[in-house]
Structure formats: structure tokens, C-alpha cells
């Protein structure tokens, strides 16, 4: 090979890096945050939003000249909702990408393993027991989601023999069916709470406050950090089970760690936002299609992209029918349904997006 060809080759084979896609999605996220905070029943100029946000950056002594009302709208009303949407979107997208890697199934998403059904059951129990008081709801929804995934994992690993991923997915379907049936039964017994149960299940960020943000932030940070640490091992898991083991990696242990971390994040997200589907499928696949299929790229970029996507979806949810709100889960499903079919097709077409 000539020196020039060698040089060209060296450039083409430089390590996979998420830097550029992260920069692009990061800028997109900032734009979406500004626009989404500016738009609402009282439209504010983006410059006002930016100045209010800037005045809250620590260690920079900047005083916004915006009116007290504008400051309150931005900081107390809109921003908590935007930030919460961002965290929820990041968790759902990262969870989806991780589950797809661990189960080697491109259509796996956070709900596959029973998180939705478990959290739904938990939320329903709280709603019917307290007649609508929701202070315990996030905690119990979180516990329900985590319990359902644990059950799925135990059943799948115990009865599926060598846990190949497929048995766990099947166990997830069974556990989800069981939890959903219980939830539906409870709901039938307490028809007066039907409205409350439904509005939670369809997902919404309408009552978001900073306290919700503080509630899930620790889980989100732990989950995101653990998943990012495993991004390289998720690439290894793309080989066969046997090859993974022959490279000195215990596939079962990696799978357990990743599922635990992803479940922590998604269950926390679901507990404050209700059930919002398809984010975990749409975002990671968009990243794979536009950049690179390596998890070194897919995971971090999906987090940022998921945040931007959900903030945008929430903006649509609260503006299309304004002053009424469309459930957020309905918006993501409108986008996600067709996208699901698209992924299925493209996967068939070239033998696997994953």
C-alpha cells in the first residue's frame, strides 16, 4: 500500500467517536429547549427565555431584565416541564437502545419486559386506594415497573435454560399480560377512578414541577452513567454468546447489569410521566440510520436526541389542541406506529439494522 493510501486508510479507520453527532443533537436540544420554553399560552421572545435561563447559570452573575411574570413563567412553569420531559425522553431512548442491544432485537423497547404493565398496575393501585391522591404514585409505579422486570428476568433465566435473550423476551410478554390483566380487573372494580387511571396511563407532563425533576434526577444519573460505562460491552454483545464468552466477557453478567441500569432509568421516567411508548424505538433507530450502529455512538446520542424528541413531542401535545392537551403517549404513538413498520421493513431489506 502506498503512503498516501495508508494515510487515507488511517483516517477512515479512526476510532468510532460520538463527538460530531453529539454536537449536532446537542445544539438541536438547546434549540428545542429555548423554543419550547418560549411557546405557550403567553408567547415570550426567545431572547427573554435565554436571558432568564442565563441568569440562573451558577457562578455567572447575570441579572435578567425580564419582568417578574416572565421570569416566573419561564422558571417555575415551563422549564420544569421541559427539563422533566428531557430527562424522561433521555431515559426512554437510552433504555430502548440498551434493551435492543442486550436482547439483540431491534424492536425491543422499555415496555417489552413488563415495565409499562408493572408501573400501570402500581399506579392503578395507588389511584384506586387513595381516590386520586397521587403523592405515592411515582414511588409505587416505580416499584411496580421494577417488580415486573425482576419477575420477567427470574422467569426467563430460570425456565429458559441458557438465557439467550429470547426466553426473557417471551417471559416479558407473559408477565406483562398477567400484570395488565390484574390492572384491568382493578380498574373495572373501581369505575369511578377510570378517568384518573386513563389520564396517567396515556402519559402526560402537565403537572411537572421542580420536585418531580429532583425526584427522578438521581435515578437518571445513576442509570445513564451505568449504561454509558457499558457502551463498549454492548458492542461486544453483538457477537454470538459463545464468542462473547471466548473474549473473556460474561454475557449473562453484562446483560443483567445493563437490564438493571436501563430498568432503573425507565421505571423512574415512567413513574413521573405515565406511559409514553415508542421513544425507545424511534430515537435509537434514527441514530443508527443517520450515524453509526456502534453503541459508543448510539447510547450517548440517543440520550441527547431522546431528550430533544420528547420535549418536542410535549410541545406538540400542549399546543395542537390548545388550551386542551393531547396525551403525550398519543403523540409519540402517532409517530411511532408508522416508524415501527418502517424499521421492520428496512431490517428485512438489508438483513438487520442491528
Amino acid at each position: 500500500m502506498s503512503t498516501r493510501a495508508r494515510e487515507r486508510n488511517r483516517l477512515a479507520t479512526s476510532p468510532v467517536s460520538p463527538r460530531i453527532p453529539l454536537l449536532v443533537t446537542g445544539l438541536g436540544l438547546i434549540g428545542v429547549i429555548l423554543v419550547s420554553t418560549a411557546i405557550g399560552p403567553a408567547d415570550l421572545p426567545i431572547s427573554t427565555v435565554a436571558s432568564v435561563l442565563f441568569s440562573h447559570v451558577p457562578f455567572i452573575h447575570f441579572h435578567s431584565s425580564a419582568s417578574a411574570v416572565s421570569q416566573a413563567i419561564v422558571w417555575e412553569v415551563r422549564l420544569p416541564r421541559v427539563v422533566l420531559g428531557g430527562i424522561v425522553g433521555a431515559m426512554l431512548a437510552a433504555g430502548g437502545a440498551s434493551y435492543q442491544g442486550v436482547f439483540r432485537n431491534p424492536l425491543a423497547d422499555p415496555y417489552l419486559l413488563g415495565i409499562a404493565a408493572g408501573a400501570g398496575l402500581g399506579a392503578t393501585i395507588v389511584i384506586v386506594a387513595n381516590g386520586g391522591s397521587t403523592s405515592w404514585l411515582p414511588v409505587v409505579a416505580f416499584a411496580g415497573g421494577a417488580a415486573a422486570v425482576s419477575l420477567t428476568y427470574v422467569v426467563g433465566a430460570r425456565f429458559g435454560g441458557r438465557s439467550s435473550g429470547t426466553s426473557i423476551v417471551l417471559a416479558g410478554v407473559a408477565v406483562a399480560a398477567l400484570f395488565t390483566a390484574t390492572q384491568t380487573f382493578l380498574q373495572q372494580q373501581h369505575a369511578q377512578d377510570l378517568q384518573t387511571v386513563y389520564s396517567w396511563i396515556l402519559g402526560s407532563l402537565s403537572v411537572a414541577t421542580w420536585s418531580d425533576v429532583w425526584l427522578i434526577l438521581p435515578y437518571a444519573i445513576v442509570s445513564a452513567a451505568a449504561l454509558l460505562m457499558h457502551r463498549r460491552l454492548l458492542d461486544v454483545l453483538r457477537l454470538s454468546e459463545e464468542e462473547v464468552a471466548s473474549l473473556g466477557v460474561n454475557p449473562a453478567r453484562v446483560r443483567l447489569a445493563v437490564v438493571a441500569a436501563a430498568t432503573l432509568g425507565t421505571a423512574a421516567a415512567v413513574s413521573v410521566s405515565g406511559l409514553i411508548g415508542f421513544v425507545g424505538i424511534i430515537v435509537p433507530h434514527l441514530v443508527r440510520l443517520t450515524t453509526n450502529a456502534s453503541y459508543r455512538v448510539v447510547l450517548p446520542v440517543s440520550m441527547v436526541g431522546g431528550a430533544a424528541f420528547l420535549i418536542l413531542a410535549d410541545l406538540v401535545a400542549r399546543t395542537v389542541e390548545s388550551p386542551a392537551e393531547v396525551p403525550l403517549g398519543v403523540i409519540t404513538a402517532f409517530v411511532g406506529g408508522p416508524f415501527f413498520i418502517f424499521v421492520l421493513r428496512s431490517r428485512r431489506a438489508h438483513q438487520g439494522v442491528l
Binding site: 500500500m1 488511517r10 477512515a12 460491552l233 458492542d235 461486544v236 453483538r238 460474561n250 453509526n292 438483513q351
Partner: protein, 273 residues
């Protein structure tokens, strides 16, 4: 190909009373065998004879009874990392993530040399690129695996295994998916690399003629036991092969003394009674 350097014959892989038992059956019974450093041991035998079980036990991919020692140390007492720095394994049916780049695929072989959460550094990439060049895949380093041919992928798996820099290379039917020409090419490459790097190769082989030509030693397995071992001349014997493969073979010798094993039909042409 450079001349082979003879080192004092020492066992690098030794197994003692090795047995592999699955829930319903025993795949390997009390196999004791040792392989000398730099040797190529070919495992032959009918389907289900225990070749793959033996390889997997050596690769620590199945639970086994008895002991396997590599470089004098029991493999059961090694950490995963220590073990994978000593033994590289090429599976019978490797999986190729379609849009992974060749260089990234080879770099996966550097894993035993990295920490659990460590990423490969410039040195590891350099090693991967060198190996790609060595296996004549240098120009394809940035190609996606989905665009590569069967023969190229076969060399790529070898490159990944070599990236482990392990002195022992286990190959499970490495060439079964290749056409005749690519098959000989792949085995010749393994042989070159073995001599060049002083590797010890243990491989399961279907084709008895190629096994005779490439391996220094053959071990014939039947029913989970080594029934014959030694050089090709000692192991390849018509009656024994007829018995253990359940067919009829003819063993011929070429002018230059190489053995050729030819399968024959068991019933004369045109008679099916």
C-alpha cells in the same frame, strides 16, 4: 515461509481425565492428552464424536470435570482475562454485525488486554491494522462486514483471534463454510501464522485429507473418547475409519507421500435394495 525453529518439546496444553456431561448425555469421557508447544493437533471424528465438546472444554465454554492446564496452570483457577490472554477460540459459526467496520471487529480481540470498562487505545488500533494488513485485508479496514465475502470474513475472524495475542489457538471447523480453494488458503494461512508466531493450534477438522496434510498430530474421537492418536500415518487407517465413520473409505498415497482419504459409496451404483 521461513524455516521452523525447533524449541525443546514441552507440553503447552494438557488435559487430565477431562469429561463433559450434558443433562442427557456424556459428550466426553475421561480424555487425557497433551499437546506440545508449536504443534498443530487436528481433532477428527464423526458428528457427535466429541470434537466440539473437547474444544469447548479447552476454551472454558462448557462445564467440565477433570483438569485442563495451559502453560502449566490449571485453567479453572485463572481469571477470564488471564485465560483469554492464553487461549483464543474461533467458533464454528461466528456472527458478523452487518455494519460494524472490519477494523472495529478485529479490535474486539484486544478485549482480554483491556480492563472491564477500558477502551482500546492507539496501540490496540495499531495492532488491529497491522493484523489486517498481514492477512491481506489492509485495504478493507474501513469496510462494513456486510460487504465482505466468505473468505474475507474467515480471515477476519482469524485476525480477531490473533489480536488476542494468545499462544494457543482453538479452531472449531474453521473452514466448513468455504469453497475448496478458500479452504486450502485459510489452512495455509493458519499454518504460516503458526510458524511465524510460534502458535499452538488445536482444530476440529472435517476433511480428513486436509487434516492429514496440515496437522502434525491427529486425534480420532469416537463416542467421546480418543480412540487413536499420533501422526496421520498412524491414525488414518482404512478399517478404523470405516468403523468410526460408519462408511467405507479408501486411503491412497500420492507420489510425494501424502495421504488422501477418499470416501466411497457403500452400495454399487444403481442398486438400492
Amino acid at each position: 515461509m521461513q524455516a521452523r525453529e525447533f524449541e525443546p518439546a514441552t507440553a503447552i496444553v494438557e488435559c487430565t481425565e477431562l469429561a463433559v456431561r450434558y443433562a442427557e448425555s456424556t459428550a466426553l469421557h475421561d480424555v487425557s492428552y497433551s499437546v506440545e508447544r508449536g504443534c498443530w493437533l487436528g481433532l477428527i471424528g464423526a458428528n457427535g464424536a466429541g470434537k466440539t465438546s473437547l474444544l469447548k472444554a479447552l476454551a472454558r465454554l462448557v462445564d467440565f470435570e477433570g483438569e485442563v492446564r495451559v502453560e502449566g496452570r490449571s485453567t479453572s483457577s485463572m481469571s477470564r482475562r488471564e485465560f483469554t490472554q492464553l487461549v483464543a477460540y474461533v467458533s464454528q459459526s461466528p456472527e458478523f454485525p452487518p455494519e460494524m467496520r472490519a477494523v472495529d471487529y478485529v479490535a474486539l480481540g484486544r478485549l482480554p488486554h483491556l480492563g472491564y470498562f477500558g477502551a482500546e487505545g492507539p496501540h490496540d488500533r495499531e495492532r488491529s491494522l497491522e493484523l489486517l494488513e498481514r492477512l491481506s485485508l489492509g485495504a478493507m479496514a474501513a469496510r462494513h462486514l456486510s460487504t465482505m465475502s466468505g473468505g474475507e470474513l474467515q480471515r477476519l475472524v482469524l485476525a480477531r483471534a490473533l489480536a488476542q495475542e494468545a499462544p494457543v489457538l482453538l479452531l472449531d471447523e474453521p473452514t466448513s463454510a468455504l469453497d475448496l480453494g478458500r479452504r486450502v488458503e485459510a489452512l495455509e494461512l493458519v499454518d504460516e501464522l503458526r510458524l511465524e508466531r510460534g502458535l499452538t493450534v488445536i482444530s476440529a477438522m472435517h476433511d480428513l485429507t486436509l487434516a492429514a496434510q496440515f496437522a502434525d498430530q491427529l486425534a480420532l474421537l469416537a463416542g467421546g473418547v480418543i480412540v487413536a492418536s499420533g501422526t496421520a500415518d498412524e491414525v488414518l487407517e482404512e478399517n478404523s475409519l470405516d468403523f468410526h465413520f460408519g462408511t467405507r473409505v479408501r486411503i491412497l498415497r500420492t507420489e510425494d507421500g501424502e495421504l488422501v482419504v477418499v470416501p466411497r459409496r457403500t452400495r454399487p451404483k444403481g442398486r438400492h435394495d
